[in-house]
Symmetry: D2
Amino acid sequence: MDFQKILNTIEDELSHKEVFGEVASYIPELAKVDPKKFGMYLYCVNKGEYQMGDSLEKFSIQSISKVFTLSIGMKLLGEDLWKRVHVEPSGDPFNSLTQLEYECGIPRNPFINAGALVVADILVSNLDDPKAELLKFVRKVSGNEEIDYDPNIAASEKSTGYRNYAMVYYMKALGNIKNEVEPILDFYFHQCSLAMSCKDLAHAFMIYANQGKIPDTGETILSTKKIKRINSLMQTCGFYDEAGEFSFEVGLPGKSGVGGGIVAIHPEQYSVAVWSPILNKKGNSELGMAALEKLTTMTGLSIF
Amino acid sequence: MDFQKILNTIEDELSHKEVFGEVASYIPELAKVDPKKFGMYLYCVNKGEYQMGDSLEKFSIQSISKVFTLSIGMKLLGEDLWKRVHVEPSGDPFNSLTQLEYECGIPRNPFINAGALVVADILVSNLDDPKAELLKFVRKVSGNEEIDYDPNIAASEKSTGYRNYAMVYYMKALGNIKNEVEPILDFYFHQCSLAMSCKDLAHAFMIYANQGKIPDTGETILSTKKIKRINSLMQTCGFYDEAGEFSFEVGLPGKSGVGGGIVAIHPEQYSVAVWSPILNKKGNSELGMAALEKLTTMTGLSIF
Amino acid sequence: MDFQKILNTIEDELSHKEVFGEVASYIPELAKVDPKKFGMYLYCVNKGEYQMGDSLEKFSIQSISKVFTLSIGMKLLGEDLWKRVHVEPSGDPFNSLTQLEYECGIPRNPFINAGALVVADILVSNLDDPKAELLKFVRKVSGNEEIDYDPNIAASEKSTGYRNYAMVYYMKALGNIKNEVEPILDFYFHQCSLAMSCKDLAHAFMIYANQGKIPDTGETILSTKKIKRINSLMQTCGFYDEAGEFSFEVGLPGKSGVGGGIVAIHPEQYSVAVWSPILNKKGNSELGMAALEKLTTMTGLSIF
Amino acid sequence: MDFQKILNTIEDELSHKEVFGEVASYIPELAKVDPKKFGMYLYCVNKGEYQMGDSLEKFSIQSISKVFTLSIGMKLLGEDLWKRVHVEPSGDPFNSLTQLEYECGIPRNPFINAGALVVADILVSNLDDPKAELLKFVRKVSGNEEIDYDPNIAASEKSTGYRNYAMVYYMKALGNIKNEVEPILDFYFHQCSLAMSCKDLAHAFMIYANQGKIPDTGETILSTKKIKRINSLMQTCGFYDEAGEFSFEVGLPGKSGVGGGIVAIHPEQYSVAVWSPILNKKGNSELGMAALEKLTTMTGLSIF
């Protein structure tokens, strides 16, 4: 299949498409990004690599980082992790406190903010230097030692992150947070600030498409069982309140971030990352969704 | 792969397993079933068929019927159907009125009761004799002209179906029900009462595994796009509040019913039906879930 | 105190006041009322009677009837009534199913619709002819044998009362409704259709201001304990989601209806009824609220 | 009326009554109180004073302090205060975040925790030294210069006050908190720690029974309009989720605290404070409720 031609077609058809959403603005620093940016990177299990547009430019990966921290948390705790966060789709906007109140402090899944904050708490409990460890993990799976946090983004998140503070304090009241609030949120705001390119993300997510192994080295990062769990979670919970729509339109497990990035994987076929900062009403990249839908339509590859 | 051996192993290992749940009792007639029943039927795209236990005995398919009515509804209305029912996972128990109130009468998806009742309303609006048409559809896709409604079950559902009446009246108040309440519920209680065996279900669901076609005749029942949508919905919403868990443990699109039946499909590989009446706390067949988990583990086949 | 002068002042000041709300329209028949109607009737424990405007014209009392049915229900069941309906303010719009779901079918109080429907169920269970008995009660306490149901209003309520059907079926599912649905709703739609004038209402509510006794005859209708309970409920729950505001602005126990009527009582002083069909956003008569606020300000009489 | 005899009877009848609740334990320091404590103090507008039991012993007034801070807030902001907190009963447990989410950060009333925290924010914004000002206010209205905060209680509240932190951060996210979180909570935990006796509270609350004036000096602390508002709020919202029950059983405006104190007033008659640390399931003093119910029954004085 001529993947490069497909990516070129996607670029041609979508880069002039009228979009109606807006760049994320609740984090001041994020609002500064150029809304015209558009890039895509496809990395195949057979090692073919294809790209278009701004695929090498770094952007703020935001919630995509939740897949990395969950992976580390699963390595640390194994099945015990699921005592502190559930695996069911949310059915509520991504920052709902109501759901949390109803379910006694156990978040619905690790990809809503509450769940990611519990995972952050777990990493803070179990790692000497969680920020350094996360960086080490991400650099390794993406094969790029240059990847780093963006301190401006992290500071900007902190300055307006009241809702996340509320959520951590609330779960602490309900007994599901073990550490002090500040180190958890410092870690969380940093993980969201990770700056990566589409290429970095496609490489990093190859472990989820490739049964847990880094293709170049063959090193096993996660067991196939853990990979299956993470992929299943990305399928049912990776897109806030649009998981069902994405599951149908694209038909692949994936994860989006408010920075405008989306990564998706087709097990044993490829991983793919796309970036366009303008978001639809549900908080997912408008062009990113369209690009992935075109990709699976044109390749005919979907898990369904 | 020796599917028969795998089914035999599943039967051996699970038929003596201690189970802790109970047979569904909210419908009096359902409570009469023998809790020891256990059967499984696997039907491959390459036409291999394998079975064990009570695989030829009919049982009440209950919510599994929602996949059939949705299929007919999609044939009737196409994309317009999605104006009246959403495609997102529920995140709430399967009969929640709260969700409905919050979302102004548009059910979260067609597999929660509210959604299935809207689909029933659509069929009542668009078909002269919806009960006859449903029977015709099910007999055709399963290749069994003997399939019929169980009038005792239908009557039993009606006698205790107050919550369903509440839901239809509530959606009528909110403008999302077009017909009188009685014909909708008469149709709905009948669809739930359909009596089918594991073999019938495995055959009927082959269209979802086989790109919309009946293998024996090659006849196309649904377009591949509609099949993808239905499979995606079964993946994210097919198991009440246990969709995430099933998606991980089994890794296949599927649908369960409180009669103890579960059907799942592996696209382009097989469809499989299992029946055991004892339900877990989430309302899914306890042995059925375990049997499908074993099947995907032993075959190594999963969509993730 | 010159009550007549006060009523005249209220009429002068308010009858030309610009109002921004609308007449209730969800019941088609109610929408036909002349929005300019405005009347008030004050009936003192010392037997003085004062009136202004359309105080003798009958209108649909709607939810005000809930006070009468509650009074009958308390006479029938005594304290046992409180096992089936609570006495706490609602905190939610008057027709919320969410609250009901959260509290397992026990309505928050007898003045939200759900609570009044449970009271209706109780009357249907305990009276041979509940419609006749209610009429008998209302005619007696108001001293007007002409009072009757308005069959057009009752039929109009029934034709659009889907939400009330939903509520009764839902509570039946939860075990808090004992009779068939139709007779309960037939009774309920009739009670709401009672046509009474401000004079009728002021007379009828005198029992709540006068320790349970009809002034003219001295006959005791309700014990002082029951009167205290009903007055306390009118104080905390009589005005949908505006109970707190009314409790402050007016400072009297009272009950409003979407027909534009409001009745309030000052224990051991007077009962007062006002009618103006235009409703504010919370569903209470806009001029009625203002008139009662003026009354208590000008008389200096308030329970606080 | 022989109030002293009535108080003696209440002491006799209730001090040996079996109680089933427990002392508040969520604040460690509160759990240390002797559960047998029982005192009551009645202060009449005509200056008669009556007491029994431990009426002169100080205890932690907790939520009763919300009436004082609301009074100061109303003096500072007048009607503008109601833009930031509503006046409707809650209908949900006293610490519900759901309600807050549903109503966009505006608490239902100033006596639920969220509302009191907004009032605390207002005091922090408008007073140079809010802790000193509150002390000054309370000492003045109670006529006792010895009243002070209990630093152990304040520290104990802070150490476990995660839910309050969550609430403040959440309302800050929603735009209804203007200051930094720490000074607000420091003030709030101090206000809750105020140590006062039944005598102190009965004296302090006399301003609400006496049209805003201190009886001894005749000084006006609050306008009659503000007094009416506060009394109305105490009537409808003073007892968490038991406001309706208290309104009926006692029939007076009042406020309770988890320290086991309750204050109630009968406008133009008396103020009364009672203390017994064992709480019922709704979080109100079990004997305190019973004592006030006896008082109004025996005196025949109730606002209804």
